[in-house]
Structure formats: structure tokens, C-alpha cells
Amino acid sequence: MNGLRLFRIEARRSVALWLAPLVIGAAWLLARNDLALGVILWPHNSVLARDSVFFAGPLAAGAGAWMAGRDRRHGMGELLFTTPHVRPVRDALIWLATGLWIVAAYLLAGVIILGFTALRASWGEPVLWPLATGFLALLTCAALGYLLGRTFSSRFTAPLVAVGVFLVQIGVGHILLSNWLGMPGWLAALSPIVPVHSSVWYGVRPNIGPGQSLFFLGLTGLILALLAAHDVRDARGRVAGAGAILLPAAVMLAGVGLLRDVPAVSLSETSWSPRWSMIPYEPVCDGEPVAVCVHPAYRAVLPDLVPAVESMTEPLAGASGAPRRVEQAPEMPLNLTGPLAGESSAPQVIPIRISTYTWAGFNATYDVAAGLVSEQPDSRLNDAQAAIKAWLLRRAGVEIDCSGRAQVLVGRSVFTAEQCAAAARFAELDGEVQRRWFETQLPALRKGQLGPELLP
């Protein structure tokens, strides 16, 4: 009862209360661009909800250090020493009261992000382990800050601890992944903000939730045990303290052990892992005569994508060998694609990629144009194929670059002047002429057997 009332006073007067709006603001800044995207995906936003730890962790650590130094800063040590309270209990209460506000702000920001996602996502469900590990990581940060604040009591401890935690979590989570220091990549999983892969095809991978949770839980327990040991002077207390340290240390090591199993689906591995089982789904389709099918989570792109695709497929309708279906291919790390969920009888099905970061049809339009003119759209197109592709893209309202100079941003949209000229000549033909040409030449064009001299 007294503990609760002490907690209430500590919570009301904690510096963390003033930092809570900062945590929410930082979370919003981090998430606002992604929340404005046309396609809202549960796995991506589940990780997004976790990522406010990026700022909240250092703030929690700084607040912990500040609160730990409060007694010495205000000359309260002697008076407090003459009361019978149990110091570790009071430490734990102050730590909890500090962590409470940061964690509450973090969870509130997470609920806002996930709530927004719930309103707009068309498929799937939240993945909660990233949010949960972030929650535990914040309590760890507050405890770590508190321990450092008690050990090094100075006005500068709190800001130094905050900056230190900020750098460490970035260093561990990002630099180790790039293998600069020759350290094993799994160590990066000790950071609460380590990048993880997320998509609707395989969820959030690798699942480091259990390992991270145990690690942060054990580390928090270890820090609290060290805090309790701070004031132990008698032998009996030291023995009890050693015992109290062993248990959380074991939990922490168990977490590290689980994270060491991660290399099979390593964090730093950027290619598809066979361990990442695909999440089954039924594509949603729209459009005639060529069906445009996407993952149900991408349903929102259909109203824009279908007209663009129809404008390109309309002249080819009825031609022998013309594709019958356009289907979104599963996205894998390193821009790779996985097997199609629906009918995959290539070359009559064109796989497309849909980026959530640009206009939804950006990648898809290029993929459709390439798939219409080639049975192997990922391979290099010949001049005839490129010219027809340029013509198709113009029909879809896409600006093309005829400079012939490859540019990173526009990628496959670059054509030579000759290809653009051939596309312009083809565009001047009557629609019926174009249709008859496709009826006779499309199979050869798609096989790459037509030279530019055979274009009308």
C-alpha cells in the first residue's frame, strides 16, 4: 500500500512525464511518411511502431540517470538514510515510475500507428512481438540509466547516458550488421532497433522476439540486482545478492543463446531464406480482358493500376500468345521476387512488382510493359522490344527518357533516340494496323526474334 502511494508520488513528479510528449512526437516524425503511403501494410507498420525506441530508448536512459542522481543533486541523502525504507525497493519504484511514462508514451504512439493501420490496411493483422520487445527494451534502458546515474552522480550523467545509449543502439543494430568490425552479425540483434525484414508475404523476419525479450528481461533483472547490491554491506547480503544476480544473468544468456540461432536466417542476410515460410493468400483481381491480380494487402492499388494496365494490353487483345493475366509477385529481400500464388503458366502471366514508396503503379507499369514485349522481361530487351515497350509506356501516360543515358532513379525507363523514334512511328499507325501487326508478330516479338527493321 505504501509502495503504491510512493509510486504515485514518484510518477507524478518524474522528469519522464515531461519527456513523454517528446516520445510521441518523435514516433510521429518517424512514422508520418510511411503512414501517408497509398498502401498500408501490417508487418511494415508493426516494425514502425517499434522503431520509436530509436528516440525513446535514449530518453528513458537519460530520465533514469536523472532520477537516480536526484537525491544527491538536492542534498537529500542524509535525511533519506535515517528512514527505515528498503533502498532497493525505492530504487525499483523510481525506476518503474520513470519507465512508466516513457513506456506509456511509446505504447500510445504504437497504438496510434497500429490503430491507423487497422483503419486503412486491407489484409492481415498486427505483428506484436516488435512492439513487445521495444517495451522491454525501454524498461532496460531506464534501468541502465538509473544504474549509471547512481554510480556516476553528476549533472552531466543524464545527457551523456542518453547520447551513449543512442550511439550504442545504432552501433550495435546497424554497424555490426555491415560487418565493419568483423563481429558476428547476430550480435546486432541485441539492439532493440535492429533492422528486420517485413512484408505481407512472410511477415516480420527473422523472428527475434523470444530471444530479444529474454535478453532484455534478463538484462533488466541483472541491472536491478546490481542496484540492490549497491548498498549491501554484510556477508549475508552479498551471498543473497550473488544469487539474485545469477538468475537474471541466466535468463539474459538464454536470450543470447536464442539470438545466436538467428544466423540461419541471419539479420544481415539479404536474400530469401527457405526457412521463411510464405503466408498463404488469395490474390484479388480486377480488369478485362487481362486480369490484374494483386496480394489482398495491396487492394488499394487496383483503381490506379488497372486502367494503366488496360491501356497497354488493349491493342494486344486477342493476339496469339498475348498475356492473359498480370499478377503481383511476392517481394523478397534484395529486390527478388518469389513464386506467384495464382496461375503461373508463363509466358501468359506477367509478374509485377509494386512499390509502396512510389506511385503504386510505377514499378508495375514497367513490369507489364516489359512482360508484354518479352517472355523474359528481366533479361535485356532488343531494339524492337524496347521500341514497343516505349510506345506502351507512353500509352499508359508514363514519361520516358530518350537520352539513352542510364540514370539510377528512372532505371529501365531509359531508351535510345532510335528506339523512341521507332516508337513514335508505331504510334502514328492506325489502331487497326497496330492490332493486325500484333496478331502476326507478337509471338516473335516476345521471343526476341524481331529486329528493328521489321517494325512497321
Binding site: M1, I9, R70, L80
Partner: protein, 248 residues
């Protein structure tokens, strides 16, 4: 007489300096004054009694218990009130929160906390400022907050180091009345260099100089030591200076 504080040959050193030298003292209920010049060892003695410092030598019993024993020390602290010479405070706490905080730390029974806090704040005359944050209070008011936290648990042993510093004359008169009231129920040890405080409220007094008790008796007995040629404006001051002159 019930002996609540018993010191036997207590010595406390800070490095090579002996702040207390074989101090022996027995104190019972009432208000006990601890007088002495600056640096005499009054604060050190009070800190030993408050269980802040452990004596290097000698035996100490407080409220019938040995504070060297952990459980006994906790029990002593539950029944202890202490106002240090320099009182720290949490500036953002309100008066009520600060006093309640210490009531809780002193492990008072939960149902007693709130009425005890209200009463302590009333006794120091701060009931109209109970919701004010400490950073908004004057030095004298802060001193009264310090006294409130010290008395909130109705201590059996109340230790006050320079309690009237910063109080205006009217507040000092009120405070002396409060001391008499508390002294009627337990033991109050007041360390001060203001002899008029001692004269007004103390039933018993000790004079400490260079770490040793050089006088122990009633204020009247201390006055009796004063001769006409002794330095001082009041009889007690003359007694005080005469005793010190005698031992130096």
C-alpha cells in the same frame, strides 16, 4: 528516569581528527539542549544519534535498542525524527507530498499516513501552503517543512540540528511551544548555538567542546556557572562562556 538515549565512551574520527572523544551521555524524555561553539562536534553527535554515522568506538543504545543490529536499526528509524542542519528538498514536490513521502518512507501504517501528514503540516503552520511546491517557499517555510517531515511519525526520538535557523521571532515562539508539546511525549534533542532557545524550552542541557561533553545539567545549573565577569548578554550566555573558559 526512562533512558531513551545512552552513549558510552563514543568516539568518532574523521581521518586523524577526533570529532567525538569518549562521549558518554544518558537522555530521558523531555527536551534536551546540545550547546557548543562551531566545530565542537554537535552535528557529529546528532548524526551518530540519527544512525547516519556509526561510532568508531563505544556503545550506543537508542530507544532501548542497539543500532548496530540491522533490524533494531530499522525499528529505531521508524520511531525517529531528524532534521539535519542543511535540509535538502525536492523542488517540484508540494509540501503535502514531501511530508507524505517521508511518512511513507518511515513505514507508517497506511491508514495513519494522511491524517498524520495533515496534522504535521498544521503543527508547523503551513496548512494554507500544503499544495504549494517547495521551490516556491521561503527559507523559513522550508525549515518548517523540514520540521513537519521530522515530526510526522510522532517520533519517540526527535533530533533537530539548528531547527530555528531561518525562522522569524514569531515562528520561533510557536516552534518552542511545539517542542515543549513533543517533549512531553518523547525525547527531543536540539542542537543549537542559540542559547535563548535552550533557555526557553530545554529541561536538560549538555555543553560540548572539542568533541567532549564539558557540562551536563539543567539550564539553571549552567546559569549558576556564570560570573559577573563572564562574557554574555544573558545569564545563560554567561554560564555558557564561563564553562568554556574553564575547560580551555
Amino acid at each position: 528516569m526512562t533512558v531513551l538515549v545512552q552513549l558510552t565512551d563514543i568516539t568518532r574520527r574523521f581521518g586523524l581528527t577526533e570529532a567525538l572523544k569518549e562521549v558518554s551521555l544518558m537522555v530521558g524524555p523531555g527536551v534536551f539542549g546540545l550547546l557548543g561553539p562551531n566545530g565542537a562536534g554537535k552535528t557529529t553527535l546528532l548524526r551518530v544519534l540519527a544512525t547516519v554515522l556509526e561510532p568508531d568506538e563505544g556503545r550506543l543504545r537508542l530507544l532501548g535498542r542497539d543500532p548496530a543490529d540491522r533490524e533494531a536499526r530499522r525499528e529505531i528509524r521508524r520511531r525517529l525524527g531528524y532534521l539535519p542542519q542543511s535540509l535538502g528538498f525536492y523542488p517540484d514536490f508540494t509540501v503535502f507530498e514531501f511530508v507524505e513521502y517521508f511518512a511513507l518512507l518511515k513505514e507508517m501504517a497506511p491508514e495513519q499516513v494522511r491524517p498524520a501528514v495533515v496534522r504535521a503540516i498544521e503543527r508547523v503552520g503551513l496548512d494554507d501552503r500544503a499544495r504549494a511546491q517547495l521551490k516556491t517557499l521561503s527559507g523559513g517555510m522550508l525549515r518548517r517543512v523540514g520540521i513537519a517531515q521530522a515530526i510526522v511519525n510522532d517520533p519517540a526520538l526527535l533530533l533537530l540540528d539548528e531547527p530555528t535557523a531561518g525562522l522569524d521571532p514569531e515562528q520561533r515562539v510557536q516552534f518552542r511551544a511545539l517542542l515543549r508539546e513533543i517533549g512531553a511525549q518523547g525525547t527531543v534533542i536540539v542542537s543549537t548555538h542559540l542559547v535563548e532557545d535552550v533557555a526557553a524550552v530545554c529541561s536538560d542541557v549538555a555543553l560540548i567542546d572539542r568533541g567532549r561533553i564539558v557540562f551536563r545539567g539543567t539550564p539553571a545549573e549552567l546559569v549558576a556557572h556564570g560570573a559577573d565577569e563572564a562574557v554574555g548578554d544573558t545569564p545563560l550566555e554567561k554560564g555558557y562562556t564561563a564553562v568554556l573558559a574553564g575547560v580551555r
